[in-house]
Structures are given as structure tokens and as C-alpha cells.
Symmetry: C2
Subunit: 225 residues, 2 copies
Amino acid sequence: MITDTDMYALSIITENRAGVLRDVATVMANYRANIQMIQQSIITSGPNTGKAYLYFEFEECGNHPDLIADLARVPSVVDVTIYPPFSRIFGSRVIIIGGGAQVAQVALGAVNEADRHNIRGERISVDTIPLVGEQNLALAVDAVARLPRASILVLAGSLMGGEVSRAVDRVRGAGIPVIALKMAGSVPEHADLVVTDPIQAGVFAVMHVSGKAVFDINRVRGREF
Amino acid sequence: MITDTDMYALSIITENRAGVLRDVATVMANYRANIQMIQQSIITSGPNTGKAYLYFEFEECGNHPDLIADLARVPSVVDVTIYPPFSRIFGSRVIIIGGGAQVAQVALGAVNEADRHNIRGERISVDTIPLVGEQNLALAVDAVARLPRASILVLAGSLMGGEVSRAVDRVRGAGIPVIALKMAGSVPEHADLVVTDPIQAGVFAVMHVSGKAVFDINRVRGREF
């Protein structure tokens, strides 16, 4: 397990030309830096309009001051700036997907519980999307496994099954536990935990993600509250 | 403006060795593919445990079937899979930062309003983090400018100023509008819009992000509701 103190983040502003990522990645490879995330986009406002913006997070590689100096020497690099990584700012993510009315109630529980943890120095954020339709839901559930820092998923609705249940199996297979509200359809049979009260479902999700809480979803797997 | 239909996403599973990103980026550069985001991590469970996982999103580059075939031929690449990009699944992000009780109420308004839009085919998600302390808040506000697909920020609290207000100026300078609850401190003077009711603040935020709503924050800038 990589702790967030081993992570570094920096942004690079460069001239916008093809191959910049290759050049930067070559420098990173020279230092054997283990890159966790890169974003690349074109700056659309301000003094650097039209230039390319590269943001990346990487694990400690032993000699990152030299790495940064070498990056600054890559042709067409304009600026290199160091930031705290997202993991230290936004931390672990609780993801809530489902019907709007119920997503909002789960979020209410999760945000208030996360507040209590974050006050004590943890970093837990609560991210949501209200969606309708089996295919939309299944796509979103599958995508959770690809979301950076996603730590647990809560499915908040009144009827979910079919392709959504198969997506739940895949997300759990990728190591992300799933809490489902008590609802119609087969999703509750595929979840780690079934919870009737949406506010409690949100609180449970945060308690599982927290490094300080006593709760562990693995100890109540298959139960219903 | 890039529409989400021009975007593609794919994941690549490779042997875990230094330089893979450089090799893949070289292929991307050969096709002049404009990469928007890359994530890289090590797979920790399942049959591919220990292998590297690369996910990236890129704009249409004219010949992406050939691009994908060439990626599959890179030494140590095990698998290439195509997905819908996050922009098509989770869409634009409304970010809510501040005190837990108020963040939860803004989220209530935003999630319920986003539900109404997403039912009609839009994709708006609502992401939150409850935080306390000027320095923590300022770091999180600054980081919003680096978050993928962040479209508007709502600051929900009772007292914010100082370094948070300077961060608000920077985020707005990066092109992300800011709504503040009516509160003590200087943040409301730096926001685009000040709203008293947290639920309405969440609704306004979603209305601004929506491509279908009539509301445009630029037409009410500086006003207080």
C-alpha cells in the first residue's frame, strides 16, 4: 500500500506540439519514477493560452529534485510547478450512484460522517451521480473501477438488476466493496452489504473507508441492516 | 470546445517495467493523438496481479483503429480494451467544498437538480469534500483548477476568507466560476454569485453547468440571492 506521503504531484506547462508527453515520459523513465496519473490538456485562458498543460502524480523515486531539474530542461517546457497530490487533498473517494432522491440522502449521511473524520485529519470525499436506466447505471458502475482513488461504491435506488448486478460483480472483483440500499431487483444479492436507511448507508461507507473507524465491511459481509 | 463524442478511452495492461509509458506515448505521438488524461497503476488483485494498468482518454485522431492495433504490438502489452470516456459517463463535475452540514445541503440541491438533467440525457455529477481550516480549504480550492472535468465550484460554509479568497481568484482566473453561500469573511466578495439558501446554491450550480438550462452565471455575476 502506497501512503500519500510517498506521492508527489507536479504540473508542466509546455509548447503545444506532438511528442511532448513522449519526451517527458522518457525523462520519467530515466529516473524509474512510477507514474500514477497524468492529465494533459490545452490551456484555454490566461497568459499561457494555447500551451499544453501536463499534470502528473508519481511515487517517490529517490532523486526527484534532479528529476524535476531534468524535466525543466526538456525542449519546449515552459514551467514546472510542484503541488500536493490529489490523494493528500481529496483523499479516498466514496462513490454514490443511483436515483436522485436516494443519492442525495446517502450523500447527506456520507458528507456529514466524512466531515467528522476530516476534522481529525483524514481526507475522505463523497462523489455522486444521479442516473436512470440499466445500461447507464451499468456503465457508470463499471467505470468506478477505473476512477482514481475510488474506495467504495454505494448503489442508491429502488430497482436495480440485470446488467447492473453483473457490473457490481466486476467492480467487487476489482477490489472495490459495494453497499446497496435495500431495493427490488437482484443488486442487493450481489452487494457486500445491504442497508435500508440511506443516511446510514452513507455513514457505513465512510466508516469503511476511514483509517480511524473500527468498522470493516468484511466483518459484516452479506448482512442486512 | 471538444464534445464528448470526439473522445475515446482505452485501457492497456502491460508487463510492469520502466519505460512502458514512454513506449505507449511514442505510438500516440506517431498518430498525433491528443491525450487528455492518463492513469497508470499496478494491478493488485485478479489474474493480472502485478502487471501495469494504463488508462487514457484522447481526442479523435483520424485513424484510431490503426493506433489501437499499433498499441497492441508494443512489446510487453498484454491487452488493449476500449471504453466510453469518463466525460460520457460522469460528465461535467459540480464541486462542493466547505463545512459538512452546509456541503450536505448544497449537495441535496445539486444532486436533485442534476437528476432532472441527467434523465433528459445530460451527464452532470456532484462531487464534495467537507473540510475545515483556511489552509486546507485554500489547497482544495486551488486543486479544483487541476481536477478533470470540474465545471463550477460551490463554497459552502459560514466563515471563509484570507488565503481561501486568493484561491477563489485563482480558480476563477483558470475559467471555473465560483458560487459562495452568504457567509462571514471575504469569500463572498470574490465569488461570481452569492446565494443564501444552500439548496438553491446547488441548483444554481447545476443550472449553470447544464447545456439545456437557460441560466448563465455570467448574466447574474456579482448578484446576491
